[in-house]
Amino acid sequence: MKRLSLGAAFLFLFTLVPFSIFAADSYNLAIPLPLTGQQAKFGEMMKRSYQMAADEINAKDGINKKKLVLSFEDSGAKPETARSIVEKLIDVKKQPIIVGEYTSACAKAVAAVAEERKTPYLVIASADDAITRQNYKYVFRQNAVNAHYGDGVIDFFKQVVKPKTVAILYESSAFGTSGADAMVKDAERLGMKVLLKEKYESGSIDFRPILSKVKAAQPDVLYMVSYVMDASLLMKQIKELRIDVKLFTGGAAGFAIPEFLDNAKDAAEYVITATLWTPQMKYPGAKEYAEKYKAAYKDYPSYHGASAYSAMYVLKDTLERAKDFTPEKILGALKATNLKTAFGPIKFENKEGYQNQNFMDTLVIQIQKGVFETIWPQQHASKKYIYPIPTWRERR
């Protein structure tokens, strides 16, 4: 019994000590993010990237000569959990800035809490337009909004492909529908005629019926908004039916991740798609970060990781200018951010109805010889685009 109470006393001491002794020479930051559930993969990638950046910062001089100590709180991509985590961080731990979360639903919940408690919140990878359109003063977003996601592709259409007609295939959930609607608007602006707009249920087995309709309609461009397995099946069946259009375009998501290449194989060749970031970006530190991540975890990170990684440098920059670890000082410093990071230049602006939104170039990538190559805008290009693309018959 005595030993037990002694042990308990020690345990008690150990849990107390880090807070009381090291608090003075370290910044403690708890980050909410999904580590379980469907979005766990992305949460994991962000966690590694946050930690990687913090280790780099600490290996140099830290922030204001203090160490940055990270801890992570699992929200499981559930808004109500994310909400209570952040309430705890602000009310109990008095953390003066919140960084993190992934899904738009969670980010919205966290944004509301942060605004209410006048604590700055930096959004890393949540794309819903509404998050930075609510006249919130304390919510900042580093990644591009959904509405601007396709900018790069539209620009590429305008400058290079000059298509007159488009056919749109999309999966029937909110994600596919909003993507398809955005494309219809863009097509109007570009003067493209929408020949066909067909939805399908995600998980379908046979796309040949609608694909033969696409073939009969003969559009210049085929635009598809799909999740990854649908994307692979679509391209495989397109190859088999030998549907030739000027360009196959994916609306990000399923077309921009390595699994698409693994499953669609050679049918994926020459497909272009929008994305926010690639390891080939010519931003300072981008390549180093991507290679370091790959060396440690065997795969290249996607923009989610890059954004998380850069967020720690944004935080460092902000705290160094804020001089004070309080919400008000941090708010002012964050607002004045103008930093070049591995994720691109970051500056929070109020325009187009958004508040504290970072506007960035969105990219176009093309699959060339089984690898994602950045092709547009030209200043970021890792390879020249291949256009016009060969017909399926010529490819054999």
Binding site: Y200, P209, A216, S232
Partner: protein, 308 residues
């Protein structure tokens, strides 16, 4: 009709028949169990998922072609089915309960356990077997240079369809010509009479459940080269098999074959001429229409023709 329209129609019909052939194999397993056990096996899609994971594992670890893994997956599923029937479903048959059909509820539970086990062992990631011939196809213009229309027939889909037909034919031979097949049919027609004629009904039930599981396991091996795989995929295929079983007439193998083909064709034609988003709705329209207008299923229509 212009040649383009003809091309679209023919390509749609080809797709529909291929899809229907696979659906038929899916439905036969369920209808067989339905006939003998008088219950709907709601773990049917999950059993197919197990078959697909076996094919996937064999492909990724030993590079065994998914089509060859039928010879491993089908016997494995047969054993699994036998076990399930012997140790789970048969005991429940004898238990007094409030619900008359608590075996059906049991199959739902079995399905949940199977899909959760798959999540534990294989995670919930999407899997597929990227075979070499995945996008290989035959083109009409390769055989007939001046063809006014271009049609393609997928190699993988053709092979899957061929195997589906072959397995169905073997099953028909088994049920029609062998003693055991006859005993199974006798059990399906009248359990008490079969019992009186000296058929070991309990054994027949076990074998039938195993056979149904083996058939759907084989269907899984035929699906994986043209589709993909994840632990929760079972539900949608259980539903398809259920619709086919109702459409074909409960317990009728011929009905399941015809029902599968009709459903496949119907889905393809809906996709082309109404919209692919409507395919799931079309499936239920068929389901409800079958319940209202031909409650005995297609097989009842066939019988009327013959004897009427």
């Amino acid at each position: 009709m212009t040649s383009v329209q003809i091309e679209v129609l023919l390509q749609t019909v080809i797709s529909g028949i291929f899809l229907g052939g696979l659906y038929a194999l899916l439905g036969i397993g369920m209808t067989l169990i339905m006939g003998v056990m008088k219950i709907i096996n709601l773990a049917h899609g999950e059993l197919m998922m197990v078959g697909m994971y076996i094919a996937y594992a064999l492909f990724s670890f030993f590079h065994i072609d998914p089509y060859l893994s039928i010879f491993i997956a089908a016997p494995a599923l047969f054993l699994l089915g036998v076990m399930l029937q012997k140790f789970l479903i048969n005991p429940v048959l004898t238990v007094e309960s409030i619900l008359p059909e608590n075996q059906v509820i049991l199959t739902v539970g079995i399905g949940m356990v199977l899909s959760n086990l798959a999540t534990i062992f294989f995670t919930s990631d999407y899997r597929s077997t990227p075979v070499e011939y995945a996008t290989k196809a035959w083109y009409i213009s390769d055989f007939w240079k001046g063809s006014p229309i271009e049609l393609s027939i997928s190699f993988a889909w053709s092979v899957s369809f061929f195997f589906a037909v072959l397995i169905t034919a073997l099953l028909w031979f088994f049920l029609a010509k062998t003693d055991m097949g006859k005993s199974i049919r006798a059990t399906a027609q009248d359990t008490d009479a079969a019992l009186l004629m000296g058929v070991n009904v309990k054994k027949m039930r076990i074998i039938t459940f195993g056979l149904g599981a083996a058939l759907v396991g084989a269907a899984g091996c035929l699906f994986i080269p043209i589709y993909y795989l994840y632990p929760d995929l079972g539900g949608q295929f259980t539903l398809i098999a259920f619709v086919i079983t109702i459409l074909g007439g409960l317990g009728s193998t011929v009905g399941a074959i015809v029902g599968g083909l009709i459903l496949g064709l119907f889905e393809s034609l809906t996709a082309t001429y109404i919209g692919m988003g409507w395919a799931p709705i079309g499936r239920f329209v068929i389901f409800i229409a079958a319940l209202i207008f031909i409650p005995g299923g297609i097989v009842s229509l066939l019988k009327k023709q013959r004897f009427g």
